[in-house]
C-alpha cells in the first residue's frame, strides 16, 4: 500500500468496479457489463457480494414503509399458477414438443420471421384433474426482419415469468427495447420493457399473458429510454412474428 497517490487508494480494477456496482454508482452500460460478467466469473461475483455485505448495514438507516395493502394481491396474481389453458390447446402428441423445438430452431436458423410457440404438455395424464395439470412451457423464437434470430423466450406458467435469451449481441444503448403483443388487429399492447442484451427473465403482468396465444403477433420495438411515451410502438420494430401453436 506504499507509494499510492493520496487521492485514490490502491485497489485492483476489479475490486473498484465491484465497489462501484455494489454502491449503485455505475451507468446503465457499465451495469450491464458487470451483470454479464457476474454470471460467468465467480471470483468477481465474490468481490461484488463482499461489497454488498459491507454496504448492507446502511439499509438499516432507511425507514421501512408499508406498501399498499393491495400490492400483495398483485404479486399473488403473478406468482400463483394461472388457470390451466391446456384444455383450449390441442394436446401435443408424444414427442411433439421435441419435434416442435427442432422445427422452430430450424425455422429461426433458416431466417424465418415467424415466432413459433411450442406448447409442451409434459406427459399429459388425462383431460381432467386441472389442479394436477403438468406445467406447460411456451417457447418462442423471435427473429429480425432479415431473418437473424434475435432471441428466444421461454414462458414458465408456474412462475408467471418469461425468460429471454439473446441469440445475437445487440447494441441499443440509450434506448429501451419494448415487447408488444398484437391480437386480432387490435392496437399493440405493451408487455413491458425487456432486456435483450443478456439472458434474463422478464416478469409479465398476469393479465397480459392472456394475449400470448396462437394467432397473436409478437413484436419488439426500440423505444426511447423508459419506454414508448404514447403507449404504442414509436420506434423501429426490430423483431416480429406470429405465434403458431404446434
Amino acid at each position: 500500500m506504499s507509494g499510492e497517490p493520496p487521492e485514490m487508494p490502491e485497489m485492483t480494477a476489479d475490486d473498484a468496479l465491484a465497489m462501484d456496482y455494489a454502491l449503485g454508482a455505475l451507468d446503465r452500460p457499465s451495469r450491464r457489463n458487470v451483470e454479464t460478467r457476474l454470471r460467468s466469473d465467480p471470483a468477481f461475483r465474490a468481490l461484488v457480494e463482499a461489497w454488498q455485505a459491507s454496504l448492507a448495514p446502511l439499509d438499516e438507516a432507511t425507514a421501512p414503509v408499508a406498501p399498499p395493502a393491495d400490492l400483495w394481491e398483485r404479486i399473488a396474481a403473478e406468482t400463483a399458477p394461472p388457470a390451466p389453458v391446456r384444455a383450449a390447446a390441442p394436446a401435443p402428441s408424444p414427442g411433439g414438443f421435441w419435434q416442435s423445438l427442432a422445427v422452430w430452431r430450424g425455422l429461426a436458423l433458416a431466417g424465418s420471421i415467424a415466432a413459433v410457440v411450442a406448447i409442451a404438455g409434459v406427459a399429459p395424464r388425462g383431460p381432467v384433474a386441472p389442479a394436477a395439470a403438468p406445467p406447460q412451457l411456451l417457447v418462442a423464437s423471435l427473429a429480425a426482419s432479415d431473418g437473424t434470430p434475435l432471441l428466444s423466450a421461454t414462458y414458465d406458467p408456474l412462475r408467471g415469468s418469461v425468460a429471454l435469451a439473446p441469440a445475437t449481441a445487440a447494441d441499443h444503448r440509450g434506448r429501451s427495447p419494448e415487447l408488444w403483443v398484437i391480437v386480432d388487429g387490435q392496437p399493440p399492447k405493451s408487455l413491458g420493457l425487456i432486456d435483450i442484451d443478456g439472458a434474463n427473465a422478464h416478469a409479465i403482468p398476469a393479465e397480459r399473458l392472456q394475449g400470448l396465444k396462437p394467432g397473436a403477433t409478437l413484436a419488439i420495438s426500440i423505444e426511447p429510454q423508459g419506454g414508448s411515451p404514447t403507449g404504442l410502438p414509436t420506434g423501429p420494430v426490430v423483431a416480429t412474428g406470429k405465434l403458431v401453436a404446434i
Binding site: 455485505a53 448495514p57 408499508a66
Partner: protein
C-alpha cells in the same frame, strides 16, 4: 417493526419453502420484508406508483429465484434488498432524467440520516458503519449516501454538486475502503 424482528434463519426457511412452491410461506416472507424493501426502493425512485411497480417486480423475481438463494453467500434480507436496489436503479437508469434536488437538499438528507439511524442504534453493524461514516469528511459521506440511497451515478452526482467525477470517485473510494477496514478490524 424492523427486519431485525425476522431472524435470518426464519426468512431463509420461508424462502426455501417458497422455492418449493409454497405461496403461503412466500406471503409470510413478503409480510416480514416488504416494508423494508419498499423503503429502499422509495428512496431511489421517489415516485410512489413507480416504486410500487418495482416492488411488485422484485417479489415476483424473489419468488422465481428463491431456489437460487444461498444462505452461505448472503443473509435473506441482504439478498432481497440487493434485488430491490438493483431493480430500482435499473428503473432509474431507464428514465431519461431524474428529478434532481440541489446540493443543499443532499446535505440536509445526510444530516437527517443520523437521527433516523439513532432509532436503530441497537443494530451493531449499522452503528459501526455509521460511526465510520461520521469520521469521514461530510462531503465524502454525503457522496456515498447519494450514490447508495438515491442511486445516483458519479456523473449525475458530479453535475448536481458541481464536483469533478474523478474527485467524487476518490472521495467515495477512500471512504468505502476505510469503511471496510474498520468493519474487518471489528470482526
Amino acid at each position: 417493526m424492523t427486519a431485525g424482528a425476522a431472524p435470518a434463519s426464519t426468512l431463509a426457511a420461508l424462502l426455501a419453502r417458497a422455492a418449493a412452491g409454497d405461496q403461503a410461506a412466500f406471503r409470510d416472507f413478503y409480510d416480514r420484508t416488504s416494508a423494508k424493501l419498499f423503503g429502499i426502493i422509495l428512496r431511489i425512485l421517489v415516485e410512489r406508483g413507480e416504486a410500487e411497480d418495482v416492488l411488485q417486480e422484485v417479489y415476483v423475481t424473489i419468488w422465481r429465484k428463491a431456489a437460487e438463494f444461498d444462505p452461505a453467500r448472503a443473509s435473506p434480507i441482504t439478498w432481497g434488498a440487493t434485488i430491490a436496489r438493483n431493480r430500482a436503479i435499473d428503473r432509474l437508469r431507464a428514465r431519461a432524467v431524474r428529478p434532481t434536488s440541489p446540493v443543499e437538499a443532499a446535505y440536509d438528507l445526510a444530516d437527517d440520516s443520523p437521527s433516523a439511524e439513532a432509532v436503530l442504534v441497537a443494530a451493531g453493524e449499522a452503528a459501526r458503519v455509521n460511526a465510520v461514516l461520521a469520521t469521514l469528511e461530510p462531503a465524502h459521506a454525503a457522496a456515498i449516501r447519494a450514490c447508495y440511497f438515491e442511486g445516483l451515478t458519479y456523473e449525475a452526482l458530479s453535475q448536481r454538486d458541481n464536483v469533478p467525477v474523478g474527485t467524487l470517485k476518490s472521495w467515495v473510494r477512500r471512504g468505502l475502503v476505510k469503511l471496510r477496514q474498520q468493519l474487518e478490524a471489528a470482526a
